[in-house]
């Protein structure tokens, strides 16, 4: 069973529906015991970094998320969920992230002809052997919606990158910890395969 963490952050149902479509059992929850008992945990999210951290604190989820992340159980952050797993974000200065992995969330720099947010389909440069991307061939297009991006401190953790005015760390993989800046649940067949790979871990 895959637990999807509920902290009032938008796209929970989309993630759940995508998992159901590939025959996985999914539960949307903020119950610490359910999270501890789940086989895998997903931290989704849409919205602002500071507000989301405030919600995680409000629902008493910060400690249990950190506990689950070090337990060795597969853990996947999606979009804002990825951002929350790092140290801090330009979006909400002074707010501490979950610090599961080291890195900063930065504002996508202005560049000629590129609109902000980075909204739409972009291709990935995938690190060979990355577990979430098994069986995915070039060019792999996935759907992004974000204005802030990950600059991971440990580049060895980066499983895929993309370009949008700057180099964006689009996915990370560190032992049992995984995260995607893009939305696999909205990335068509490629995204569904990524979720299948996660479910099969």
């Amino acid at each position: 069973m895959i637990a999807i963490i509920d902290y009032d952050a938008g796209n929970l149902r989309s993630v759940e529906k995508a998992l159901l479509s590939i025959g996985e059992q999914a539960v949307i929850t903020r119950d610490a015991d359910v999270l501890r008992k789940a086989d895998k945990v997903i931290l989704p999210g849409v919205g602002a970094f500071g507000v989301a951290m405030e919600k995680l604190h409000q629902y008493g989820l910060v400690d249990v998320i950190k506990e689950v992340a070090v337990s060795g159980k597969p853990f996947l952050g999606i979009c804002l969920g990825l951002q929350l797993m790092f140290d801090s974000s330009d979006e909400s200065e002074g707010v501490e992230g979950l610090k599961i992995l080291p890195g900063k969330i930065r504002l996508i720099p202005d560049s000629e002809g590129l609109k902000i947010p980075h909204m739409g389909w972009n291709s990935l440069n995938i690190r060979p052997g990355a577990k979430l991307f098994q069986g995915i061939e070039d060019p792999a297009y996935v759907y992004f919606v974000h204005s802030f991006y990950l600059d991971a401190e440990n580049k060895a953790d980066v499983a895929a990158t993309t370009e949008y005015g700057t180099l964006i760390d689009a996915s990370v993989e560190h032992e049992n910890i995984f995260a995607c800046q893009f939305h696999p649940e909205k990335s068509g067949d490629t995204g569904i395969l990524i979720l299948r790979n996660f479910a099969a871990l």
């Binding site: 947010p117 759907y143 995204g191």
Partner: protein, 253 residues
């Protein structure tokens, strides 16, 4: 490589896809969930469902449709038509829609844009603008109620305001070009795309492959939307993408 988006639009009336010209003469074109799923398979980058009845009695039919689409199709989709309040946003997003398009309601109450953006994020707030060239040719006016009422408001100014209020995207329909198949209004599309910092979806007038190309280059659109061309199989989404790719436009293929 970041790509330009090709977006089929499904106009939905009482739970069925319909299409007319210049907002009139509606014809039946199928079940929205089936048509949407087919487009998804054929390479659509997103889908837009516009509930053109937009009366309170059709709301439940629309919600049922949104739910089925979300269970079937795993690409982003937008729902528009008759959305008036932040609660309407909540109900439709909860059923699985990714974005909500607002038109008349945003004109009547611009704060709806900022309230929805604050609550659900700018990424899900699409401001749909129906624009028509003024008789003196000096620019374009915004219309509400499905193109029935002239707001006597400049379209470019309204787009800038919507951007400032927190809209995540502009869905721009040229009423002059809609249904004509003579091409998008490039001048209008470019004027608005250059005036805002958010993506602009060009809509109304696609009839040939080069119309898509023109909207994405001369018109500076970030995405192109079409309805009847795809419904009546006059053109396949894949063929449009191949054409654009060959012309050097980056598309997902």
């Amino acid at each position: 490589m970041f790509t330009k988006r090709i977006i089929p639009c499904l106009d939905v009336l009482n739970g069925r896809v319909v299409k007319g010209t210049q907002f009139l003469n509606l014809r039946d074109a199928g079940d929205p969930v089936e048509v949407g799923a087919l487009y998804g398979k054929e390479g659509a980058d997103e889908l837009v469902f516009l509930d053109i009845t937009a009366s309170s009695d059709s709301r439940n039919i629309t919600l049922e449709m949104v739910k089925k689409v979300a269970e079937t199709i795993f690409i982003p989709f937008t729902v528009g038509g008759g959305i008036r309040t932040v609660d309407d946003f909540k109900t439709i997003l909860r059923e699985g829609a990714d974005k909500i398009a607002v038109n008349s309601a945003a004109l009547m109450n611009p704060q709806l844009i900022s309230e929805a953006a604050e609550k659900f994020g700018s990424q899900c707030v699409v401001v749909a603008i129906d624009a028509k060239k003024r008789a003196d040719g000096s620019g374009w006016n915004v219309y509400k109620n499905g193109g029935r009422i002239d707001m006597n408001m400049d379209a470019v100014e309204w787009a800038i305001k919507a951007n400032k209020l927190g809209a995540g995207e502009i869905l721009l329909t040229s009423m002059d070009c809609d249904g004509t198949k003579e091409g998008y209004d490039l001048e209008l599309t470019r004027a608005i795309s250059e005036a805002v910092s958010i993506p602009v979806i060009a809509s109304g007038g696609a009839g040939k492959m080069e119309h898509f190309y023109d909207a994405l280059t001369t018109g500076k659109a970030d995405a192109v939307l079409a309805a009847s061309l795809f419904h009546y199989r006059e053109m396949e989404i894949r063929d449009v993408k191949n054409y654009l790719n060959n012309k050097g436009i980056s598309v997902r293929h």
